[in-house]
């Protein structure tokens, strides 16, 4: 993975609460054996009509969404299924961060493993972002803060180890593999 330090981009705002992983990528696209190419399935049922034509009123089909790397979503984004296809689809489409007041557990874990930053912020900042779609903002991983021009930076929580992995461009598997002797000791201790 490429190391990530900061992401600066205009935002795409999807204010709906509880955007579940079935919306992010519907189940019928899960019969793939690859991680790639899921960007076209991203929000498929909101993005396209029954004939596969783009719905002009959906945000990702509007020109102002072009090139945006940060998705601001309503509360409890990513709830539902554990499908990692959800972050794969967001990343394949071009998103690098998801911002909300609550981000579902498994989706958050899956996002961190794919270089998609889950950014949980307070309600006031979130309300401001919802009210200002397309705002140019910066997610700064080094300081774990969200920067909006003319406003004080907003700290967001991120697991120290996940941040280290993201900033160094290393994955967690390497760390787990380095624990081989501890794992062996555990296995022999428990007669497993």
């Amino acid at each position: 993975m490429k190391p990530i330090n900061n992401i600066r981009s205009r935002t795409v705002v999807m204010p709906s609460t509880n955007i579940d992983t079935d919306q992010i990528v519907p189940a019928r696209f899960l019969t793939t054996t690859s991680k790639l190419g899921l960007g076209k399935a991203l929000f498929a049922d909101w993005r396209y009509d029954a004939d596969g034509k783009p719905r002009p009123d959906f945000i990702l089909n509007k020109s102002e969404a072009d090139g945006c790397r940060i998705l601001v979503a309503g509360r409890n984004v990513g709830c539902g299924s554990s499908r990692e296809h959800a972050p794969w689809a967001l990343v394949d489409y071009g998103f690098q961060a998801v911002v909300s007041t609550e981000i579902a557990d498994i989706f958050k874990n899956n996002s961190l493993k794919n270089g998609l930053l889950p950014v949980v912020i307070d309600e006031a900042t979130h309300a401001w972002l919802i009210a200002h779609p397309g705002a140019e903002i910066e997610v700064d991983l080094a300081s774990s803060s969200l920067k909006i021009a003319d406003r004080p930076p907003v700290a967001f929580p991120i697991d120290a180890f996940a941040r280290y992995c993201l900033m160094s461009g290393v994955d967690e598997l390497g760390f787990l593999l380095s624990k081989d002797s501890e794992i062996r000791a555990y296995e022999s201790r428990d007669g497993l």
Binding site: D22, T31, S82, D171, I183, L192
Partner: protein
């Protein structure tokens, strides 16, 4: 005296390979890794790319359920699998299992079924184990006092390669269920009521422990229904303390310990329940005796009312308004009597034998309403055989329902079993999200009893009218 511990804390502590530090999460050993065709291919690719082997074939089991067809001719021959990409995914799992040495209960294996149904059936799901699978409903196995949770595909790769996961310790929440469930009110109704109370993100960051009289009175099949939907409240996992019911279920299952080993395991399991004075980070109380059969009316499992109730009037709330527009239902409408086009009985939530018996009890000697399609899909081939031996399959067929091979089926539209656009489905599955059962499908979640009653009357119906006095 040692500090009193919750069951979760005991299981967690017993699996720490290295503890959590300021800078790193804990390394947690996994006792059982279940895997299936949809969330594993990219994990095997990762192993291949890194030149890694499967660390513990003895703790890994694969089956196929999600994209697997339920039509007999597609499973056992005579017709090709209708979705080409699904067929390819199934073949890929076969190849991966062969290459890496994973035991696979494949398409035509008599022990195949939904991954969360066969683990317990085989006796692999046991108290005190850590169990993971690339599926959010892995919480099901918590019914045995295991710590079981869903993981993503990258983590599937981690477990294949190291049998371990990096985890931050979650918080604990006791769900105290007071009193008993009334006749016709089921564990499904209880968990829907709990989700309605807690909210779909109220459990975020917690492991639930379900406790109390109503939980103790449940069979293992029923406890699994409760734990299955923990994730729908956002919880990491749901657990129920093992007891005599747990041991009676597991004894003599094919892969449970035998003889002296069994006695030793039972002795260990008895140490697992939370200590009396153990404290939880949060407490939720619910009165089981006041509950009625529950039905969802919206597009998340927390949007739920009693079958005798009305859809609340929350007009002006964006989630509510969007849900009503999608569902084609209105604020204040009585949910009883709402239209029904399709009825689905099955899934990892309600696809076990006790669920099929409950649906059959309502359907016996009755026909499903004209114009209603009903699909009954056993959760495993074992459930299918037993349901056929008991005559349940005949009851379903005589009532006009379709009887299929096991699989996830209509719970999620990816295996050929779908609900058409705009149609109303009363479903015993776990999610009523937009499009979950098919593009534009409208899902109302309910118990097997309520689903069967709704099939008979062709509208959302209270099952209690069909219960023998």
């Amino acid at each position: 005296m040692s500090v009193p511990k919750t069951m979760f804390e005991k299981v967690w502590a017993a699996h720490e390979v290295t503890p959590q530090t300021k800078d790193t999460p804990a390394v947690i050993f996994i006792d059982l890794h279940l895997t299936h065709e949809v969330t594993s291919p990219q994990a095997f690719t990762l192993l291949r790319e890194r030149g890694l082997k499967l660390r513990r074939p003895d703790l890994t089991l694969a089956t196929m359920d999600h994209s697997t067809p339920t039509r007999t001719e597609q499973v056992f021959g005579g017709a090709p699998i209708s979705i080409e990409s699904a067929a390819k995914q199934i073949r890929q799992l076969e190849k991966n299992c062969l290459e890496f040495g994973v035991e696979l209960l494949g398409l035509q294996d008599a022990r195949r079924g939904i991954v969360h149904i066969i683990g317990p059936e085989l006796g692999l799901t046991q108290p005190g184990k850590t169990i993971v699978c690339g599926d959010s409903h892995t919480s099901t196995h918590g019914a045995f006092g295991a710590l079981a949770f869903g993981i993503g595909t990258t983590e599937v790769g981690h477990v294949l390669a190291t049998q371990c996961l990096l985890q931050k310790k979650p918080k604990t929440c006791a769900i105290e269920v007071r009193g008993k469930l009334s006749p016709g009110v089921t564990p499904k109704d209880l968990i829907l009521a709990i989700i309605g109370k807690v909210g779909v993100s109220g459990g975020m960051g917690y492991v639930f422990e379900y406790r109390g009289e109503a939980i103790r009175a449940m069979s293992m099949d029923q406890r699994m229904t409760v734990c299955n939907m923990s994730i729908e409240a956002g919880a990491r996992a749901g657990m129920i303390a093992p007891d005599e019911t747990t041991c009676a279920y597991l004894k003599d299952t094919p892969r449970a310990p035998k003889g002296k080993d069994w006695d030793a395991m039972v002795a260990y399991w008895k140490t697992l329940p939370s200590d009396k004075s153990a404290s939880f980070d949060k407490l939720v109380e619910i009165d089981a005796s006041s509950l009625e059969p529950m039905v969802t009316y919206g597009t998340n499992p927390g949007m739920v009312v009693p079958v005798t109730g009305r859809i609340p009037d929350r007009r002006g709330d964006a989630v509510f308004d969007a849900a009503m527009a999608y569902m084609g239902l209105t604020a204040g409408q009585a949910i009883g009597g709402a239209p029904v086009n399709v009825v689905f009985v099955g899934s990892c939530t309600n696809g076990r034998l006790v669920d099929l018996r409950a649906a059959a009890n309502v359907l016996r000697g009755r026909k499903i309403a004209k114009g209603v399609q009903m699909l009954v899909v056993p959760g495993s081939q074992e459930v299918k055989r037993r349901a056929e031996a008991e005559g349940l399959a005949e009851v379903f067929k005589a009532a006009g329902a379709e009887w299929r091979e096991s699989g996830c089926s209509m719970c999620l539209g990816m295996n050929g079993d779908t609900v058409s656009k705009g149609k109303y489905s009363v479903s015993t599955s776990n999610r009523n999200f937009e499009g979950r059962q098919g593009v534009g499908a409208r899902t109302l979640l309910a118990s097997p009893e309520t689903a069967a009653a709704s099939a008979v009357l062709g509208r959302v119906a209270d099952p209690r009218q069909f219960l023998d006095a």
